[in-house]
């Protein structure tokens, strides 16, 4: 796709303002600074060279030292007054300041005084330069889990040390694992640790609030194939994906709409009465069972029937505990009573 005119203009003006302060700069360095190719910088220089004030006589034009260009060095000799870098626009300031404020509040930054100080000073300089326009957007990410856990992860990441963690899965199973940490990633409401897991001998992503304990070892991390810096984002679709997993269809009352918004589903169908129906792959039955119990007052129907029975069975088993405990059966209704007679086999 061709570059937009406004983006290129920004770079053209940026190059002149930067070179005015920086002196001669190698073409490659200039390309790296402005995130483009040396060939594009060469084109930019060619365009700047013929630009200037009306009249466009040689003295009117932005000028470079020709001999330097031949050596691959860009040396500005006439800026035609275009020496001032541009102010940040409101939208630009909003996007940067909101991101920095959100970063400042993450556990990974809070747990490390040095990081905190850098983010804080960057934010201060930025707001000094842009004014307080940025309150239009307010983002807060996950609190990010236990302070000691986050501190251990941060320290291990910085030192390149293996971690020993105790982790509880969404199906409520606790395990001890040794992992080589790769990245601490905060996405929306949760912080995640991306790591190589020696137990699974595969890359794994761990939710930080489910890491019950983390201990930094003195074993250096190793290189693992497939654990690159590339996969910066948590691929939620992949976490839930599984082409061969069975499909489930659930019909919800409108109040449960967040389910369709936050859980990766195959499809959502809005029904005329305001209900909606989602279809999803059952890759984690324990999680789905638990979630459907939580949402049960808003669940109209569940298919296939075996899944509905599974959910109902788990709930009946729990109701039985209330019915037999010292509470009496108030509020539990007859369902609990029925279930109590037979829910004892698990």
């Amino acid at each position: 796709m061709a570059e937009r005119a406004d983006d290129r203009l920004l770079r053209l003006l940026g190059i002149v303002a930067y070179l005015d302060g920086a002196g001669p700069v190698p073409l490659e360095d200039l390309a790296a600074r402005f995130g483009t190719t040396p060939a594009q910088i060469q084109k930019d220089v060619d365009a700047l060279w013929v630009s200037g004030t009306p009249g466009y006589w040689p003295d009117d034009l932005i000028d470079f030292d020709a001999a330097s260009i031949d050596r691959g060095v860009v040396h500005l000799t006439e800026a035609r007054g275009m020496t001032r870098p541009l102010r940040l626009g409101t939208r630009e300031a909003v996007a940067l300041v909101a991101a920095l404020r959100a970063m400042r509040a993450t556990g990974a930054v809070q747990a490390d005084p040095a990081r905190s100080a850098v983010v804080e000073s960057a934010l201060r300089k930025l707001t000094d330069a842009t004014g307080e326009a940025a309150s239009a957007v307010d983002v807060r990410l996950a609190p990010g889990g236990d302070r000691q856990v986050v501190a251990a992860i941060t320290s291990a990441l910085t030192a390149g040390h293996r971690l020993r963690i105790r982790y509880v899965t969404s199906s409520d199973v606790v395990s001890e694992r040794e992992v080589d940490p790769v990245r601490l990633h905060t996405q929306d409401e949760y912080a995640y640790l991306a790591a190589w897991c020696y137990r699974a001998t595969a890359p794994r992503t761990f939710r930080v609030d489910r890491i019950l304990e983390a201990t930094e070892t003195d074993v250096p991390v190793q290189a693992h194939p497939g654990v690159g810096e590339r996969s910066a984002e948590i691929d939620f679709a992949a976490l839930f994906a599984g082409g061969s997993s069975p499909l489930a269809t659930i019909r919800f009352a409108p109040r449960a709409r967040w389910f369709a918004e936050e859980v990766p589903v195959e499809s959502v169908r809005n029904l005329p009465d305001g209900d909606f129906e989602v279809t999803l792959r059952v890759t984690n039955p324990g999680w789905l069972r638990s979630t459907l119990i939580q949402l049960a007052p808003y669940v109209r129907s569940v298919a296939p029937a075996a899944l509905a029975d599974d959910v109902a069975g788990a709930a009946a088993e729990a109701l039985a505990l209330y019915a037999t405990g010292g509470f009496g059966g108030a509020g539990t209704g007859s369902v609990a009573g029925d279930a109590a007679t037979s829910a004892n086999q698990h």
């Binding site: 003006l13 940040l88 940067l96 957007v137 905060t186 939580q294 509905a308 959910v311 729990a318």
Partner: protein, 346 residues
């Protein structure tokens, strides 16, 4: 000579920065490189207006001044003091933090905003970014969606917007007219905080439920934005921290344990007689439960979490949490086919 748009814009900026007083439209057309390409008056007018808009969007305002003398003709110029970035002296570590902030947003429009900001900041001569201070840290926030652009524009200009919105309580879709105040991200959702003109009251809308394009309508400066706290308006700050007492099976509900504390043995007696009876129908004995005190803010959140653990957890106190938990379990138990839950367990 035919110039591409970026080069025409560049020459316009240089001309309007360097002009003594101002340039008239006619002077721009005849003197600035690129504008003589316009075949007709209309084509020139369109080109000039579009270019001014684009410059304004980049943070380079073209100001209009009277040219004096005996004509009403307007003059144009660019005031460098109005667009120049105040000196901002970023360390490599701070620039590294800002580069990281650039990965924060997943929306294309926000990425464009950030990339522009970075080009401007790099033109201001900041050193090369260093990511050392933030090794392995990569926060990001869920995509906010297409509504962002018009809403930010409306907030900045204090203009009214309209959109159609799906209500959560009954699923109906209605057109809303609101005065946008702020956009906020919390717990994985994006919210619009605004004054609802139809209801004549402040309202919070969940942006994922906006079903149409957001249209900015009406004049600028149509309202004022009051001082308010995001979390108070979202209701997140309300609700003190309360404590629930729950009985949990050993080794279960690890995520909940992570924020709970054990009830001292001396107080255990009070609860143990209310635990499921060892001689009862359920598999378990009074000794086989850990009694924990769990902090919570939201009644429904606590009850959902408790219900989700099924028979691994029994709520002991308070009554309100117990009732809400039972409501969920009872509804879930009713989802199965009649009689099947018992059969599958028995």
């Amino acid at each position: 000579m035919t110039l591409n748009p970026a080069e025409r814009l560049l020459n316009l900026v240089i001309a309007l920065v360097n002009t003594n007083a101002a340039m008239t439209k006619q002077q721009v057309r005849t003197a600035v490189a690129g504008y003589s390409d316009a075949p007709t008056d209309e084509a020139f007018e369109r080109m000039f207006e579009r270019d001014k808009d684009m410059l304004r969007a980049l943070g380079i305002p073209v100001v209009t001044v009277g040219t004096g003398g005996h004509t009403d003709e307007l003059g144009y110029r660019i005031d460098q003091d109005a667009y120049a970035l105040p000196s901002i002296d970023l360390t490599p570590a701070e620039l590294g933090v800002l580069s990281l902030a650039a990965q924060f947003w997943q929306d294309k429009t926000l990425q464009t905003d950030i990339n522009r900001a970075m080009v401007k900041l790099r033109a201001a001569g900041a050193g090369d970014p260093s990511a050392d201070a933030l090794a392995g840290l990569a926060p990001s926030v869920r995509a906010v969606g297409d509504a962002y652009g018009p809403l930010i524009e409306a907030i900045e200009a204090r203009r009214v917007v309209t959109f159609s919105y799906r209500a959560a309580y009954n699923g109906t879709v209605l057109t809303r007219h609101v005065e946008p105040w702020r956009i906020a991200a919390r717990d994985g959702g994006w919210y619009l905080m605004c004054f609802d003109r139809d209801r004549q009251a402040p309202r919070v809308f969940r942006m994922s439920r906006i079903e149409s394009r957001v249209r900015v309508t009406g004049p600028a400066g149509a309202y004022e934005i009051p001082d308010f706290d995001t979390d108070v308006m979202l209701g997140k700050a309300h609700g003190e921290v309360r404590a629930a007492v729950v009985a949990v099976r050993p080794e279960r509900a690890g995520a909940l344990r992570a924020r709970a504390k054990a009830v001292p043995d001396s107080e255990r007696e009070v609860y143990s007689e209310r635990l499921p009876d060892p001689g009862g129908a359920t598999a378990g004995d009074r000794a086989g439960w850990d009694i924990l005190e769990v902090p919570y803010r939201s009644l429904s959140g606590m009850a959902s979490e408790a219900a989700g653990y099924g028979a691994a957890l029994v709520v002991l106190e308070p009554e309100a949490v117990r009732t809400e938990t039972l409501r969920r379990l009872t509804a879930a138990a009713a989802l199965g086919r009649p009689g099947v839950a018992e059969v599958s367990c028995g």
